[in-house]
């Protein structure tokens, strides 16, 4: 075998079978003598993107990743054990110490929406029942969090059996706009059979791909650019510019990636789409591949979304059988295939360059930009990466044209937006609204406030977003209005807090979230998140901050915004700063 040092620990039959099944016998184990120098390195990288699936298989088989199991994976994929260990320890869903008892682990969300719905009580209740509980960051089921019933988001990580979300067994009742024909993105949700290609076609499915093929790639890129569509993940980058840049790259393999690693606390819109209209994501990604000239489609989905993963895989399989994917995808004359990769519990992997690193089998650490993904993305090759909501808009654009698309929304924010309503609202859920709808109207759409009924604050855009107060109810939901008034739409989170909620407790949790989720690569973020959290804990204990500590809050924030590598560090202090500015924190002068 190659020149890797692998210890004597060996895998047992269960582990070997699990890994081999996950890798599907799709490559040959390298066993001939080979120096692991340059040539070996490139060979090594060739298999490395299978590391994450292999680690998932080990974790699922035994409830942990054992030294013997890791050795088997390392030998199979030619990954140095130290590096594979570094990858395994990066993710929340993997453990590398032997559990005292092996069995299902119930992950219970402790982030804001669930926190104020009573996840602390739920955790105590489960533990009293002897359930193995893991306190989890946001699980993307915020519409289920309800202080009136005490329900909070849960996800069960299986051992020997599949991962599951028990609430998925119930009929999905939390989409309140079902059957509304005026919806552009969610009109099929709750209407179409999400497991059936035939049903999808009956509801207008794959008409957009046919239209795109008839238009040709350049015209699709032009339409997307003319429509004014911008990325819905938070950065709002113009999608047309991104696609044109990738389309212009020649001579190297190209990729389109659906960023389904929806992890921003308070965000669950993409999950609702993927679970209830998975073919739409597959079709839209196929159009992205056609328009940019990419043959390789990837779906990177967070590990805590088992139903969405299964539905997307089913959709891909049916599309392959129907010739809508494959060597001549939908008769386009182009090859296009889609592979799914599951994340393993790391918020940072929603950052596009961290996602690439994770998918390639490395630690999910963001990379410096420039170079940008359009030239150096996945495997350092040209890549267009979009989230499902952004992609869904393209289905509309190619069918009704850029002008038709622009008939909704405002000049600078055309189209519609998916908003994730949660917190103290009567009917939490995902809502599709036209850009320009005011925040007050949006809250009314969700049935108005519950709890005390007196609005204290709204968290816009998630933990990386910012708090606003009742004076913003007249703010139209558009990119430009949000920017002008110093807040953000981010990933579409609108989380309502009424005045009986202890905001300091919420802020401490937000600080803890960033402390737990920082990848640790760059100093400002690795240490800054810890120092920010310490400051908030002191605030909670003391009820106020001394002037010196108040100064620290600003100093920490400034260096994280200025000097961190990626958007995580740039935004990790936003929520707390905005809360202080709004005067939500007693004892801290704004």
């Amino acid at each position: 075998m190659a020149d890797l040092y692998i210890s004597d620990e060996t895998a047992d039959d269960v582990e070997i079978a699990a890994v081999d099944a996950a890798l599907g016998g799709r490559f040959v184990i390298v066993r001939e003598g080979e120096r692991l120098v340059r040539a070996g390195t490139s060979k090594r990288h060739g298999h490395r993107h299978l590391l994450l699936p292999a680690l998932h298989a080990l974790q699922n088989a035994k409830g942990w990743i054992s030294p013997g199991g890791l050795n088997h994976v390392c030998e199979t994929l030619q990954v140095p054990p130290a590096e594979a260990f570094g990858v395994a320890t990066f993710y929340d869903l993997f453990r590398t110490d032997e559990p005292k008892r092996v069995g299902d682990v119930t992950h219970v969300c402790v982030d804001a929406a669930c926190q104020i719905a009573g996840s602390g009580d739920r955790i105590a209740e489960l533990r009293a029942q002897g359930v193995d509980v893991h306190e989890s960051p946001c699980l993307g089921q915020c519409e289920r969090a309800d202080h009136r019933t005490g329900e909070v988001a849960e996800f069960v990580q299986g051992v020997g059996g599949p991962d599951r979300v028990d609430a998925d067994e119930r009929p999905y009742e939390l989409f309140h706009q079902r059957g509304d024909d005026s919806l552009r993105l969610l009109h099929r949700v709750g209407v179409v059979d999400p497991t059936s290609l035939a049903s999808y076609r009956e509801h207008g499915g794959y008409a957009a791909l046919a239209a795109a093929i008839a238009m040709g790639p350049d015209a699709v890129c032009d339409a997307v650019a003319d429509s004014g569509l911008s990325g819905r993940g938070g950065a709002a980058f113009p999608t047309g510019i991104k696609w044109r840049a990738v389309a212009a790259e020649q001579g190297r393999p190209k990729h389109v990636v659906a960023n389904c690693d929806e992890s921003e606390p308070g965000t669950f819109k993409d999950r609702v789409v993927m679970e209830n209209d998975p073919f739409a994501v597959v079709e839209a990604l196929t159009i992205a591949g056609f328009a940019t000239g990419a043959e390789n489609g990837w779906i990177y989905i967070r590990g805590e979304y088992p139903l969405a993963t299964a539905r997307l895989q089913n959709a891909i399989n049916q599309a392959l059988d129907a010739g809508l994917l494959g060597d001549d995808a939908a008769g386009s004359g182009r090859r296009f295939t889609i592979e799914i990769r599951r994340g393993a519990g790391a918020y940072i992997c929603g950052e596009e360059t961290a996602l690439f690193a994770s998918l390639e089998g490395f630690r999910g650490e963001p990379r410096s930009k420039p170079p940008f993904p359009t030239t150096h993305g996945l495997f350092q090759e040209p890549t267009a990466i979009n989230n499902p909501e952004t992609l869904l808009n393209v289905l509309d654009i190619v069918q009704i044209g850029a002008d038709g698309y622009r008939s909704r929304g405002t000049e600078r924010s055309p189209g519609t937006k998916l908003l994730c309503l949660s917190g103290r609202v009567a009917r939490p859920g995902v809502y599709e609204v036209e850009f320009g709808t005011t925040l007050g109207e949006v809250l009314e759409l969700a049935g108005g406030l519950t709890g005390s009924g007196k609005l204290r604050a709204v968290l816009m855009g998630g933990a990386a977003g910012s708090f606003i107060d009742g004076s913003y109810l007249d703010m139209p939901i558009t990119l430009e209005d949000a920017r002008e008034r110093g807040t953000t739409l981010g990933s579409g989170v609108v989380m309502a807090f009424t005045d009986e909620i202890d905001m300091v407790e919420v802020l401490v949790r937000i600080a803890q979230f960033f402390r737990d989720e920082s990848c640790g690569q760059c100093v400002p973020c690795r240490v800054g998140c810890v120092r920010q959290h310490e400051t908030m804990v002191v605030l909670q204990q003391k009820g106020s901050l001394t002037p010196e500590r108040r100064q620290l809050v600003d100093d920490i924030s400034q260096v994280m915004v200025d000097a961190s590598i990626c958007g995580f560090g740039h935004t990790a202090t936003n929520a707390i700063n905005s809360a202080i500015e709004l005067g939500l924190v007693p004892g801290v002068p704004s």
């Binding site: 040092y5 390195t41 400002p524 120092r531 961190s564 590598i565």
Partner: protein, 297 residues
């Protein structure tokens, strides 16, 4: 070694650094451009003989038109770029990065960093005023053999040792970053001891470590009895006698005893990297007394 900034075409670009016009070859890093006009920039994770990873963020500068500060070690100059190396934002970031590091790990064996901390007014005591003490690395030294020790209480996670062990020099991959966030550590798989890992004891990780987190056992022993005296040490350059490659060695001697061995980072043969023989195989010059050159592997 990947010569990242070696220009492929002989063109020059013109940029402005702190108000002065500077002309450098295309592809030069901002850091190198600053150096060419005698502007000193603090660095930590950067080294001449390693690929820039730009994780420490201590070398950041302000570039006009860029929202965030940029790492000067890894960003190539562009024509017309306007760079500020001593603006208020730059000074604040450098001060805070150093302060953050000093608040979590021991930096008393990193004189270069101490100098910069003083320069920028970093005050690590600000974090210890809390009733809740500031979290530290809090690691005990790992002493697993007679050749070198790892004291992760001094580790700033600059990734240099990982690079030297891996793609940038040794291709051994014995260590990597494990864990996440503040819990991230340099580690072997499952934290096994070095003799049980892929480590070949080239010691290149020692050569690149900027804070003494990885150091010769000889140095560690002398330091622990307060007898490490760099000012009294003599450095003698010689050629390694083991094979025909011609690696240059720098023998550091204190009281006529070899206490450590390095190689110049700019040497054409080694680029600062050695193998186990050159790095550690000098006891035949001065046999230990009593002979304890027992390797546990």
């Amino acid at each position: 070694m990947t010569a990242t900034f070696e220009p492929t075409v002989e063109t020059t670009v013109s940029l402005t650094i702190d108000g002065s016009t500077v002309e450098v070859p295309a592809g030069t890093s901002i850091h190198k451009a600053c150096e060419s006009v005698d502007i000193d920039t603090p660095t930590l994770c950067w080294a001449e003989n390693l690929t820039p990873v730009n994780v420490c963020r201590v070398c950041v500068v302000e570039v006009e038109g860029q929202r965030a500060l940029v790492p000067s070690c890894a960003r190539a100059v562009e024509d017309g770029m306007v760079v500020e190396t001593d603006s208020e934002r730059v000074r604040h970031s450098r001060k805070m990065v150093l302060e953050f590091l000093g608040s979590g790990v021991e930096l008393d064996q990193a004189p270069e960093l101490q100098k910069w901390m003083e320069h920028y007014g970093s005050d690590t005591s600000r974090y210890d005023q809390y009733e809740l003490p500031a979290l530290k690395m809090g690691e005990a030294p790992k002493i697993q053999d007679n050749l070198y020790i790892r004291d992760y209480d001094r580790c700033v996670l600059c990734y240099k040792c990982v690079e030297a062990c891996g793609d940038d020099a040794q291709h051994t991959y014995a260590i990597a970053v494990s864990g996440r966030g503040f819990d991230a550590r340099i580690s072997t798989e499952f934290d096994v001891t070095l003799p049980d890992s892929a480590c070949v004891y080239c010691g290149n990780c020692i050569g690149v470590c900027p804070t003494g987190a990885i150091q010769f056992k000889t140095e560690y022993d002398l330091r622990s009895v307060d007898d490490w005296r760099p000012d009294d040490q003599e450095i003698t350059r010689t050629v390694c006698s083991y094979c025909g490659v011609g690696c240059n060695l720098e023998l550091h001697t204190q009281d006529d005893t070899i206490v450590k061995v390095t190689s110049p980072a700019d040497h054409s043969v080694t680029s600062g990297m050695l193998c186990v023989k050159g790095r550690f195989g000098w006891q035949y010059v001065q046999p230990l007394d009593p002979p304890t050159r027992k390797r546990s592997r």
